[in-house]
């Protein structure tokens, strides 16, 4: 490493910086314990996450800052919240119900909590007249780590590769999700992932089983470099619907293959070349094969662990994290329109590039904020319901956790409904309490009714907190103004779309694709 001692921030940090630096002279760190951002004014990148007024993304930015720090970029990461991870944080229920702290999902949830508590107080009675932390199903709110947006990790997916690539796995412990289910014809069943399971699956009738078995055998024996295993299909050119047709799969089978295994969000994939779908199904089956019960894993103590772990990774590689930092303005050069820096607490940090979530760039705000320019558009809304249960989800064999996907066609919708359930097995809830999140993309003016097919699968729900959040996406790639904006989390209950966004932003920022390989350990010279 070219860096020996962090003698004065300037020298050391300049040597690592890939971009020209500002000329501020900072005092040596040793003599300064003030929490000033001026000392870091020459950083190449600034990251901001999770404006509490809007749903931030948190994890996307934390992954990116971790990866970019490992890549040798200087990263300054600022977060307005005083906890890590923005919307991907896990909050205990005391935090969730403290509207002063929370991001939008939490805040809206908190509003729902408060309203409900007040309503029941007015009616006089029940355990609702207790403060939240004294509620009957929890001795203390600390027993919970409620994910604001629960998502599961595909065991062989790209997020796992990122965790391994960066050794972030060191900070985390994972548990399997106990089951992956799909809804068909009014009930849920395990998603079969091998020809053996296909044959036993109650999802299909006798003849369909035989056809599905052939399809699974085709997938299992597929070898990329052996055309004999391709059964005459050129997956790069033929459409996925042709593959379905070749095996004669019913529409209901296509629903679970396309949505619960390939994890597509809609049916557009059918009229596209089969390659990505085949790849995704194989990824699913490989993930499934890794631990056996489901293709998904989940960190103990909740998803809030992930941004913390990537933040530590970034810090170890010289990145600087600042929590509780309010961003006053995003500055651009009036002539060129290019990003120049941000102002926080009266201090301006100069940098070449900025990455942030939509809330900093005009999402849901008047134009004078977010650098004076609307840089994001609303692409839809997500409805989410956090449900507290005292029992496992019916039909899951008492699983301590589960993912259930309700494919759009099964309930006459355009978007799938997702259910993600976790419990005390993951150190996120008290004993014998399950937390289930039901979510989907809003299609009507009564979003809560849209998640009903999901809610009905849960059995009796002890408590339910509904939130509706807008989804934003950037209007431009950022190459012109050096402002790179991430997407809002969608309704899916897995991380694949988040990871796509990480790859996309990396490509935009660096101008080259993100290539993950096992990190090489650099032994000091």
């Amino acid at each position: 490493m070219d860096e020996e001692y962090d003698v004065s921030a300037n020298v050391a940090w300049t040597s690592l910086s890939h971009t020209p630096v500002a000329t501020t002279t900072s005092p040596p760190m040793a003599s300064s314990a003030t929490h000033s951002i001026l000392h870091t004014s020459h950083l190449a990148l600034i990251w901001m996450i999770a404006d509490p007024h809007l749903q931030g993304t948190g994890l996307t930015e934390c992954i990116l800052s971790g990866l970019l720090s490992v890549d040798g970029q200087k990263v300054l990461h600022m977060d307005r919240n005083d906890y890590y991870g923005g919307a991907s944080a896990s909050l205990n229920l005391t935090q969730v119900s403290n509207s002063g702290l929370a991001s939008l999902v939490a805040r809206r949830t908190a509003v729902v909590f408060e309203k409900e508590v007040r309503r029941r107080q007015e009616r006089g009675g029940g355990d609702w007249d207790q403060p939240w932390t004294g509620r009957s199903y929890s001795a203390t709110g600390e027993d919970y780590a409620v994910d604001l947006i629960p998502k599961f990790i595909l065991a062989s997916g790209e997020l796992t590769r990122m965790l391994v690539h960066t050794d972030v796995t060191r900070y985390l412990e994972f548990k399997q999700i106990a089951g992956s289910y799909v809804y068909r014809d009014g009930r849920i069943s395990k998603v079969p992932s091998t020809e053996m399971e296909a044959v036993r699956s109650p999802l299909m009738g006798l003849f369909e089983k035989r056809r599905a078995r052939n399809f699974f055998m085709f997938l299992q024996s597929w070898r990329e470099d052996d055309p004999a295993t391709h059964q005459g299909l050129d997956v790069n050119t033929c459409l996925m619907k042709d593959v379905y047709a070749k095996f004669g799969l019913e529409p209901g089978t296509q629903d679970f293959v396309g949505h619960a295994m390939a994890l597509w969000l809609d049916d557009d994939y059918k009229t596209k070349p089969a390659r990505p779908t085949i790849d995704r199904i194989i990824l699913y089956t490989q993930s499934m094969a890794r631990y056996g019960k489901s293709p998904y894993i989940y960190p103990l103590y909740g998803l809030g662990e992930l941004p913390q772990a990537f933040a530590r990774l970034s810090a170890i590689y010289g990145g600087t994290y600042m929590l509780d930092k309010k961003i006053e303005s995003v500055n651009v050069d009036p002539e060129t329109g290019k990003f120049t820096g941000v102002t926080s607490a009266g201090e301006t940090v100069r940098a070449k590039k900025v990455i942030g979530d939509p809330s900093y760039f005009g999402a849901g705000k008047e134009l004078e904020e977010g650098g004076g320019k609307m840089r994001v558009v609303e692409t839809g809304k997500v409805v989410r319901a956090i449900c507290i249960l005292k029992h496992p989800i019916p039909g899951t064999d008492d699983a301590d956790s589960a993912q259930i996907i309700i494919p759009q066609n099964q309930v006459g919708r355009k978007n799938d409904i997702y259910i993600a359930a976790v419990s005390s097995a993951h150190n996120v809830a008290a004993q014998n309490v399950w937390i289930a999140m039901v979510s989907t993309i809003v299609e009507t003016s009564v979003p809560e009714r849209e998640i009903l097919p999901g809610l009905q699968l849960l059995g009796s729900v002890l408590d339910k907190f509904v939130s509706i959040t807008p989804l934003y996406a950037p209007t431009a790639p950022g190459s012109d103004d050096h402002v790179y904006i991430t997407k809002t989390y969608d309704a899916t209950s897995h991380f694949e779309t988040v990871v796509e966004d990480v790859f996309d932003v990396w490509h935009r920022v660096k101008g080259e694709p993100l290539v993950l390989k096992k990190r090489e350990v650099q032994v000091e010279a």
Binding site: E3, D82, Y317
Partner: protein, 207 residues
Amino acid sequence: MSRTTSFKLVLLGESAVGKSSLVLRFVRNEFSDFRINHRVSIGFAGAAFLTQTVNLDDNTAVKFEIWDTAGQERYKSLAPIYFRNSNAAVIVYDITQPPETSFEKAKTWVRELQRQADPGIVIMLVGNKLDLSASRKTSTELGKQFADEEGLLFAEASAKSGEGVEGLFMEIARKLPANPPPTRTPASRQGVRVEGQAEETPSACNC
């Protein structure tokens, strides 16, 4: 037959009190007058922690997995994962500073640990920069008294001269349980092993 047990030890305290310097002295017997960058103290880029083993007697050794803050204390961004499952904590202040500054900060760290960490955690309070005792501003009595009240171990040391450094880690080692419950050691990770996740240091080896 000797027995080595691994324990996770975290460092806490205000920025620039000498946390990384104490680690560097203990692990590599080195000192630098410059601010210690995490990469230097850790030895190679990207390591989460470094290790040092002390022998308690002929057949008992304690292996410390020492977690430094990586500078995250500077902007108050130390996360709960940092303390998670820690068996011991060294909370450092600078005796050349008046007690309202780094000593006061050390007290808040003690409270933070009492709130967040495992109740069995061994906490050692350290007044550092003892080589500069001519310009001392926080008295030994003040540190000792607070440590006694809170049931902490206490030592004064100098990362620069090395005085007291090994001793303080030895004292922690002696205080750690000889046979920790398996759920309380770094090697006892629950859950599934993610592909590529390195084999952690075993909690006990017969070698």
